[in-house]
């Protein structure tokens, strides 16, 4: 166990799984130099051109390398540098890797991990700041992971690499810079299992990615006011662990769902709808959603600050359901 950044935890998961399984390789843009976030730092020196495949700026073709190689027995990690760039690779992700097993009547097994970096950071503007996880949650055949800390990142990525399905692994850029205690040895967390990050009685906040950090801060603040908040991080957005979420809501009778992505049609909408469907009788207030406004991500820091959902928006939602004034 040692303190690691999420970047280092991601790097360690890739390194340890590559060491464990010869079939695992990484293909992506600039992975030879470790990638712009450092998630592949040092791996080229260790594994060489064969297993750290530095590709052209061709997201569609490099994702195709993953689909084709997986179809004949390899276990590719495909890095899409910035999440907004997935648009270029969408056919290979949505029409090919997600559907191939089904369309082929089960003939194909596609153990592919698509890793990507999402979210608002440092005035990166509208084409380098997106959180597009909901798109992939809408596609049967894919699993979608979004860790909020270094520990979960290592355990989830390790599980993703060992999983026999296509998995989209999304690292929030600001989460990558955070640190916590992480085991040094390889370990896998179960996919499709949420974690209760903080227990509470009065309110459930289901938060994803960076908003987990904000939700935990809000919970601490509200504890000082005598309000007990339970914080749940689904960690896996598809398949979603509704059992853990519903058990919490049945206990607290109030729920807020919070994510960085645009609120409209976000994963929060699905979670809120399912809470309404399956725990309606337990609710004392409407399920509130926190997310970004329905605009592209702006450039100017003052606009970016206004855009970005965080503690203030969660507290607004808490007030809206009448828990504080």
């Amino acid at each position: 166990m040692s303190v690691k950044t999420m970047t280092a935890a991601v790097n360690e998961a890739i390194d340890q799984e590559m060491a464990r399984d010869e079939r695992v390789f990484v293909a992506g843009e600039d992975v030879r130099v470790g990638g712009p976030f450092g998630t592949e730092a040092g791996l080229h020196a260790k594994y060489g051109d064969k297993r750290i495949v530095n590709t052209a700026i061709s997201e569609l073709a490099l994702t195709g390398i993953g689909v084709g190689a997986a179809a004949v027995g390899l276990r590719p990690i495909i890095e899409i540098m910035i999440m907004d760039f997935v648009t270029v690779a969408m056919d290979q992700i949505v029409n090919q890797m997600a559907k191939m097993k089904y369309m082929l009547g089960g003939q194909a097994t596609l153990p592919i991990v698509v890793t990507t970096h999402a979210g608002v950071d440092s005035s990166s503007a509208a084409q380098h700041s997106g959180s597009l996880e909901a798109w992939f949650c809408h596609v049967p055949g894919l699993k979608v992971l979004m860790p909020s800390n270094a520990y979960d990142a290592k355990g989830l990525l390790t599980a993703a690499i060992r999983d026999d399905n296509p998995v989209i692994f999304i690292s929030n850029k600001r989460c990558l810079q955070t640190s916590c205690e992480v085991p040094d040895e390889p370990f896998a967390l179960p996919l499709g299992v949420a974690e209760v990050k903080r227990e509470g009685r009065d309110l459930t906040i289901v938060a994803t990615g960076r908003l987990v950090i904000d939700a935990l801060d809000v919970a601490e603040t509200l504890a000082g006011q005598g309000i007990s908040v339970e914080v749940i991080d689904p960690r896996t957005l598809s398949p979603l662990d509704m059992d853990t979420i519903l058990a919490s809501v049945r206990k607290t009778s109030r729920a807020i769902v919070a994510h960085e992505a645009v609120r409209t049609c976000g994963i929060g909408a699905e979670i809120a709808a399912r809470i309404s469907d399956e725990a309606f009788d337990y609710l004392d207030a409407p399920v509130k959603r926190v997310g970004a406004p329905f605009t592209p991500v702006p450039f100017a820091p003052l606009l970016e600050d206004r855009y970005l959902p965080g503690k203030a928006q969660i507290l607004d939602a808490v007030r809206e359901i009448g828990l504080t004034t």
Binding site: L62, I65, G68, G105
Partner: protein
């Protein structure tokens, strides 16, 4: 190139099997016994057969929406193909794919594809895997002229050239992209010219001439297998029928154009050649043709008798479950 008499006859047989498979598939579609629709390979048989006869059983192909010919040429079983077209449980895809997604991974057939040019990045990945696994298998990527106007094609060819991946890009230029003439969609007269942009060999081939296809494919396969990297083969051919089925009803083609290409029917040309060479007599050829017809009728009868998918098949194969 030396081709044994036996091999010449086998290639004629393969072309006949593809032709008779698709002629029947068309009529069965018109009768709604084939579900969905079919894109017919009739007229293009010399390409699939000439190329696949240059491959080993452990080599790979990716195919297209017009893919029945590729499957048969690579060893696909017409019984299971018809069963899939009939949406039966015994079809190659268990009735969950249909014509446009036919695949047989155990035969190295990575699959037809409903998305134009999508096979190119996948073929690149399969070929990459052969390099990675250090085997000497090659991958053939079949696609039409229209696919060469898709970004996926250009990304894949560029990356294949950089990686020297053992992949052969085989363009079946049949003169039409869906319902539009190739010349209205494609900036060059010869698609093979596009190879120059990626620094790989590009060759124009008469796609109605089986021997020409076989010879050019053999060279490209040998090059790929020996580490020489990818090639682009452009086979000039003609789609005897419409984009979908025999006559979809939206495209009027010049009857003279059709007659010109019909006179260059690759099966007719090859059969005539074998008869001229004395490889087989006209009577032998007729008997061969009749036996192929019999095989296809039997395959249809077999497929017809197969069970439908279980209703719960709707929910299976979405994910791979962990081994127990």
């Amino acid at each position: 190139m030396e081709i044994t008499n036996e091999h010449m006859v086998r290639m004629l047989t393969q072309m006949l099997r593809i032709r008779e498979f698709d002629e029947r598939a068309a009529r069965l579609m018109e009768q709604a016994r084939v579900k969905g629709s079919v894109h017919l390979y009739c007229g293009e048989e010399a390409i699939g057969v000439g190329v696949c006869e240059s491959l080993r059983a452990d080599d790979y192909i990716t195919s297209t929406h017009r893919g029945h010919g590729h499957l048969i040429a690579k060893g696909g079983d017409p019984k299971r193909m018809y069963a899939e077209l009939f949406a039966k449980a015994s079809g190659y895809n268990g009735g969950k794919g249909g014509s446009m997604h036919l695949a047989a991974l155990d035969l190295g057939i990575i699959g037809a594809n409903g998305i134009v040019a999508a096979g190119a990045p996948i073929a690149l990945g399969v070929a990459f895997a052969s390099q990675y696994q250090d085997n000497d298998r090659v991958t053939v990527c079949f696609f039409g002229d229209g696919a060469t106007n898709e970004g996926a094609f250009h990304e894949a060819v560029n990356m294949a050239a950089i990686l020297k991946a053992p992949v052969i890009f085989v363009c079946e230029n049949n003169g039409y992209g869906e319902w539009s003439p190739t010349a209205t969609q494609t900036s060059v007269a010869d698609i093979a010219d596009r190879a120059a942009a990626y620094g790989i060999p590009g060759v124009v081939i008469d796609g109605m001439d089986l021997a020409a296809v076989y010879e050019a494919a053999g060279e490209a396969v040998a090059r790929a297998r020996s580490g020489g990297g990818p090639s682009l083969l452009e086979c000039k051919t003609y789609r005897f029928y419409d984009h979908v089925g025999r006559d979809f009803g939206v495209l009027q083609r010049d009857p003279e154009e059709i007659a010109y290409w019909r006179a260059r029917d690759p099966i007719l040309l090859w059969r005539n050649r074998l008869e001229e060479l004395g490889v087989l007599s006209s009577t032998d050829a007729d008997a061969l043709h009749a036996s192929v017809v019999g095989e296809m009728e039997a395959a249809i009868a077999w497929a017809d008798a197969q069970p439908d998918p279980h209703p719960d098949a709707l929910f299976t194969d979405v994910y791979t479950e962990p081994a127990a």
